[in-house]
Amino acid sequence: MDFSLTSEQDLLATTARNLLAKQCPPALVRSHVTDRSVQAPLWACLRDYAELGRNNCTDLCIFLEELGYVAAPGPFFASVALFAGLLESLDADSALRDATAAGEIVGTVAVAGLNGFWVPSDDLVKSFIVDADIADHIALVHATDSGVVVTVLTNPGERALTPVSTVDQSRRFFEWDTGDEIGGIIPCSPEAWSAFIDRSHVAIAADMVGTARRLFDMTLHYAKEREQFGKPIGSFQAIQHKLADMSLVVERARASVQYASMTVDAGSADRTRACHVAKAAAGRAARSALLEGIQIHGGIGYTEEHDLHLFMRRATASEYLLGPTSWHLDRISDEIFA
């Protein structure tokens, strides 16, 4: 067993960090709130990395963590983590998989029904479809009497998508009344579904760990700079202990994401459980970083002038995407009480 990153993985993380620091500053996230088009040049840089969607989950998660760190807008998560992940699990049409891995097309998935949980259902209305307005393909997952089926449709943007607004504008969600479009030509076995959804759980957890790490880093920096009573507030034990606890919860979430991504690559029997643990741990980390992050920033953390809220919003929405923390805890308890 070896938890250390390979030198290629170190390089991937550094490359992603440098690229995103340049291409996705907070100003871009901020302008994306009102101008959706600013995500396009970012995607033009990131599409070169779309190949990650069909390779090691560990590499994908390293990259996604950096995307979460900058709260990157755009279709990378929807297309590379979700859409490509589903196509690969289904062993679907190779031309479509190749085009997705080459970043030539952008896809997303429609899974959740009206109740919002990412469990295949026979609801005709699908919800929480990530970034559907900028996708050119959509994989519709539907439960039928004879099992789960997937239909890949083109140009979802031309359909009647209803925005589902959340506190976070870096990712957009949509609801879609599929009407008579469910054709269901690709069967999705329970094994294929499980491979896809486990991978998706650890993928969002990686993104969320990145955002939590950003909130933590901003807060640590602020505690070292901000002076009150003639010294940095980070010299006060009350603040130090909060920061120690925050870093602990972020670090253990990060480690659990790493482990879960390793189980995905190894096809380990522990995979499903590990991915639920990763999402739940990342949810706790995001919540803790948000709570203490704002508290330590004080009044300025409560404003929209400061960039903190951009990451706080991303953290909150991610916590509820692909199953809230409580849902993942319920899956864990199903397993340990079985």
Partner: protein, 391 residues
């Protein structure tokens, strides 16, 4: 990154398993619970002392050490495999840790040739040691200790008091930190002495634990004579040695804490089922959250071990100490909560497992206080890992 162990590591594990299958004492065959069970009247159970010697003689006491010191020169990964297997089976190495975990390794690093001859008996458990560190006014501020040793010719005269001294009532030797320079800054006036516990002027008063057991004691020194050849390391150079213990095992110290937490989570599931609240969503989520904590801590421990094996000093040790001790306490509290009105009952007849949960809860404070309290761990993380200014 990969999940599998290498071929030599798997071979190592097979040998260990074969040894444990054949030799594990009957008293530990179903797992030995350090925190719940008294060892009869003995402070150190005779079967445990025999087991420690057997581990030593077969190279399984400290496997990273050479054979003459109870090991087999194994690799760091194999040391972790060893610690994991023992924890998984809940098979102890020894209950009295001072000799093998602190005195032996410290003497190897700092002792002179005469003092090094004490090492194998310390690790084998033939000599029982206690460690004289904490004092009534020197707890978390260990460097504030005031027990003094004044040099008179070739003899130190020791006066003062130690407290929380584990195994002092059965130990034959004490690894004792004393002040040898009253004027120097506090970290620079401390020396380490080996003191025979049968020396005239030593009085040991056992202290009863919160759960009724007496494992540690107060030790009083009144004009105790210690030959100067019992000084370990440099005069006034004792502080550096306080930091020393099994450096090559430190990266794996978390293994036992996490394994116990996982075992407690398993017990919580059984408890919830036995108390008919296995369908209670609130209870299930709390136990699942405890599982998530244990599981993510295990991953963090592995990650820290990987950095250690690559030669970096990993901050994970303080994280793991803080998190596993606090989580252990919270897990026992959850057990009491599941028991409801019977949470504080210690009566075997009424189904509260002899007060196992409340007693374990009480004892678990030892883990959040001893060896650097949770608050000290947070200071260490804040100042040494996060680079915040000292307060």
């Amino acid at each position: 990154m990969k999940l599998e162990w290498t071929e030599p590591d798997q071979q190592f594990l097979s040998e260990l398993r074969a040894f444990l299958d054949e030799h594990t004492p009957v008293e530990a065959a179903n797992g030995f619970d350090f925190q719940g069970e008294a060892n009869g009247d003995a402070i150190i159970a005779p079967w445990l002392q025999a087991w420690q010697a057997k581990l030593f003689d077969n190279g399984w006491m400290i496997p990273g050490f050479p054979p003459e010191l109870g090991g087999r020169n194994c690799t760091p990964s194999q040391t972790m495999i060893y610690l994991e297997e023992l924890s998984r089976r809940r098979v102890p190495r020894a209950t009295h840790f001072p000799g093998y975990a602190i005195v032996g390794p410290s003497l190897l690093e700092y002792g002179n040739d005469d003092q090094k001859t004490l090492v194998s008996a310390a690790i084998r458990g033939d000599t029982i040691w206690c460690i004289g560190m904490s004092e009534p006014d020197a707890g978390s501020d260990l460097a504030g200790l005031t027990t003094r040793a004044d040099l008179d010719g070739d003899t130190f005269i020791v006066n003062g008091q130690k407290v929380w001294t584990s195994y002092a009532m059965v130990a034959s030797k004490c690894f004792c930190y004393v002040r040898t320079d009253q004027q120097a800054p506090k970290h620079k006036g401390i020396s380490l002495l080996i003191i025979d516990m049968d020396s005239p002027g030593i009085e040991v008063r056992p202290l009863t634990h919160i759960n009724g057991q007496a494992e540690f004691a107060e030790v009083f020194f009144t004009d105790v004579h210690v030959p100067v050849c019992n000084l370990v390391g440099e005069l006034n150079g004792g502080w550096a040695i306080t930091q020393g213990s099994l450096a090559h095992e430190r990266a794996g110290l978390w293994v036992d804490g996490v394994a116990r937490l996982e075992q407690t989570v398993t017990s919580l599931v059984e408890l919830a089922k036995a108390n008919g609240c296995h369908d209670d969503v609130g209870v299930r989520r709390k136990i699942a959250a405890m599982h998530e904590l244990a599981s993510s801590l295990r991953s963090l421990g592995y990650k820290g071990f990987a950095s250690y094996a690559q030669g970096s000093s990993a901050p994970e040790h303080s994280y793991m100490k803080l998190a596993s001790s606090e989580a252990g306490k919270a897990a026992f509290e959850l057990g009491m909560e599941i028991l409801g009105p019977y949470g504080a009952v210690t009566d075997a007849l009424r189904g509260a497992e002899n007060g196992r949960w409340v007693n374990s809860f009480y004892i678990s404070f030892a883990n959040t206080i001893a060896g650097g309290s949770s608050e000290i761990q947070r200071n260490i993380i804040a100042q040494r890992v996060l680079g915040l200014p000292r307060n």
